[in-house]
Amino acid sequence: MEKKLNILYLYPDILELYGDYGNIQVLKYRLEKRNYKCNIERYSIEDNPPDFTKYDLVFAGGGADIEQDILSKDLIKYKDNIKEAIKYGVFFLLICGAYQLFGKYYKDADGTIINGLNIFPYYTEAINDRTKRCIGNIVIEATLNNQKEKIIGFENHGGQTSDVFSPFGTVLYGNGNKFGDKYEGFFLENVIGTYLHGPLLSKNPSLADYIIKYCLDRKYNENTELEKLDDTFENLCREQLLNRFKK
């Protein structure tokens, strides 16, 4: 039987500021190289309501402030369904703006509050000064399947996220959830919320494979042994960047 993962890609036309679609492309690439099928469905405002529990993975990226407000009102309609999906174990990969939206609220630089889904207890407040943002290359250390992994990406956010009870990783280089923070992102077994784009999975094949394995294991109730792929470029890229940032 052909094995297949179903991915729900949220607001592809709105949350697409930093090449975040690349994450989906990387997942698709790594699945298809191993002869798994990858089915990507898109949902945006005005489309038929999706059932989040039917997917193996839900992905959403980052957008501009103005757009964030429009879609938070839309996304909130699905709050209960999303909660159920998370409880079922559907994997959620949430970058930047989407990460913020799953918390309590986002307060922008003018003080306007955009309500979040309030699924997780963290909240985000932008600094009053619009010109101050956490911008730059970032390296964090995360623990995936009991293994420590360095995760490389790029962060660009004004929002400062507080009250994260379970961060994605510890910051080795860069800012993290706040200016000069020790921690970055939010992590449960099946939820990653992070400020890292670049896109995130393009430079972190082990993280991409962690997500793929999690989804396959869950769906087919097995302990999947993922076939090794040729990651020469990825490894060279990581080596070069880690050397640069070590200083």
Partner: protein, 440 residues
């Protein structure tokens, strides 16, 4: 007195820099600003002042306007080398003014960085502003596109001069409403060209109507979000066009305007838009049509912008790409060409490029036509290699080299046509390396 002192100092500095072989594109302005922060408001200008701003195409368009005006016999002061921020513009003025701050040329033509338009023209007269396009560009340096547009929109609220706008970019066209009392609005537009699409093909910005937030409808997309759009709710986008390009034939580098056929030097749709902006400006200033047509036919920058070279019998096209749209239009040219090709993509992440290279994931690398090898280089050679691989290009045919001379050597190992795309700080070193290679 203070002014004269600043000008004399700047001129001496300029002579000194020339002696030591430096151009002083920004330095002179930088120091002058330190001495006299209001210096920009102190010049005596009788020239007609034209400024071009955009995300892409500033240098080409501004230089073509300058070239045409000079062909028409006018004297022109311009920042032709592309120093387009406050300091660069100030340097240009200081180099070209009299000791009392007078500019004596007939015209002043500036290309101006998008974010500096309000600052520079707050105190400096402006007769014509040309706005070509707004795309996402170095988000880590510039911030979101919307912020930039609002800044220019605010400035235009009190502006009554000529405003030359690309009618096919919803982000540009909206500026016509910034000042309802300004009657000097000139729209230009290009008719649907051969490779226009029904659906958007590359990352773009114009999704919602800026006035009523309704989703915009497109009859077609030329490239990125440039195309024939309208708002189904408030009819935004139905502009009266001043100059329209039609019968666009990129293969033969030709298009028609007002019943006259123009020949041009570039084979890209965005090049036609740039040409059309030049035609608009020249029409406003009553430059003879014959002169304009001749100028479009002969103008070329030769600095790595759509530059065609012949390197050891390999036709080579070099183009700058600072952002997804820049790269996507280059790939359009590549895909519109049927011959067998190699691609060299040079990607740096120096400060002037922006440190964030995630924009390469907004480049449409799918279905590259007749490309048999891709060589990547620059400080982010591996990032672009991963990008191309993930798009489905065979990884055995991708060759990343951080080192540029190795990359160029690899590129010319075969005899096919070469397409070279390089981002900002990569462009001139790449061009130089290729020209050096041809001499070996």
């Amino acid at each position: 007195m203070y002014k004269i002192f600043t000008i004399i100092f700047a001129k001496i500095l300029n002579i000194f820099l020339k002696i030591i072989g430096k151009n002083g594109g920004n330095v002179i302005g930088k120091i002058a600003l330190k001495i006299n922060p209001n210096i920009l408001s102190k010049f005596k200008v009788n020239s007609r002042v034209i400024a071009v701003t955009a995300t892409n195409g500033k240098t080409s368009t501004n230089n073509c306007i300058r070239y045409t005006l000079e062909k028409a016999g006018f004297s022109v002061v311009s920042n032709s080398e592309g120093n387009n921020m406050e300091t660069g513009i100030l340097s240009t003025l200081l180099k070209n003014c009299t000791l009392t701050g007078k500019i004596k040329s007939d015209y002043i033509c500036f290309e101006v960085d998008e974010s500096y338009v309000p600052k520079i023209f707050k105190d400096f007269k402006l007769d014509t502003l040309v706005v070509l396009n707004f795309f996402r560009d170095q988000l880590d340096r510039n911030g979101e596109v919307e912020t930039l547009i609002l800044k220019i929109n605010d400035f235009l609220k009190n502006y009554n001069g000529n405003l030359v706008l690309n009618s096919d970019d919803p982000n540009v066209s909206r500026l016509s409403r910034a000042n309802p009392n300004n009657n000097n609005i000139y729209f230009f537009s290009c008719d649907k060209y051969k490779y226009a699409t029904k659906k958007i093909k590359e990352a773009g910005e114009g999704k919602f109507c800026p006035f009523c937030k309704t989703k915009l409808e497109y009859e077609y997309y030329q490239y990125s979000h440039i195309g024939k759009f309208r708002c189904p709710n408030c009819h935004y986008g139905e502009n009266e066009i001043y100059k329209l390009a039609y019968n666009i034939d990129l293969k033969n580098k030709k298009f028609d305007v007002d019943g006259i056929t123009c020949e041009t030097t570039g084979n890209s749709i965005y090049h036609i838009y740039n040409n059309l902006a030049v035609i608009c400006v020249c029409a406003i200033y009553n430059i003879e049509t014959e002169i304009v047509i001749n100028s479009l036919k002969t103008f070329s920058l030769n600095n790595g912008r759509l530059e065609e070279l012949n390197i050891k019998d390999c036709p080579t096209l070099i183009n700058l790409a600072k952002n997804p749209t820049g790269a996507n239009v280059s790939l359009r040219i590549l895909n519109e060409d049927d011959s067998e090709k190699n691609l060299l993509f040079v990607l740096n992440d120096n400060i002037a490029d922006g440190f964030d290279v995630s924009w390469i994931w907004d480049i449409n690398f799918n279905d590259l036509k007749n490309v048999n090898r891709i060589i990547t280089s620059g400080t982010r050679a591996y990032d672009i290699a991963i990008r191309v691989k993930t798009a489905g290009f065979d990884s055995k045919k991708i060759y990343p080299f951080i080192n540029l001379d190795e990359a160029v050597k690899k590129l010319y190992e075969t005899k096919n046509k070469k397409y070279v795309i390089a981002n900002y700080t990569a462009l001139q070193p790449t061009r130089k390396e290729i020209i050096n290679y041809s001499k070996k």
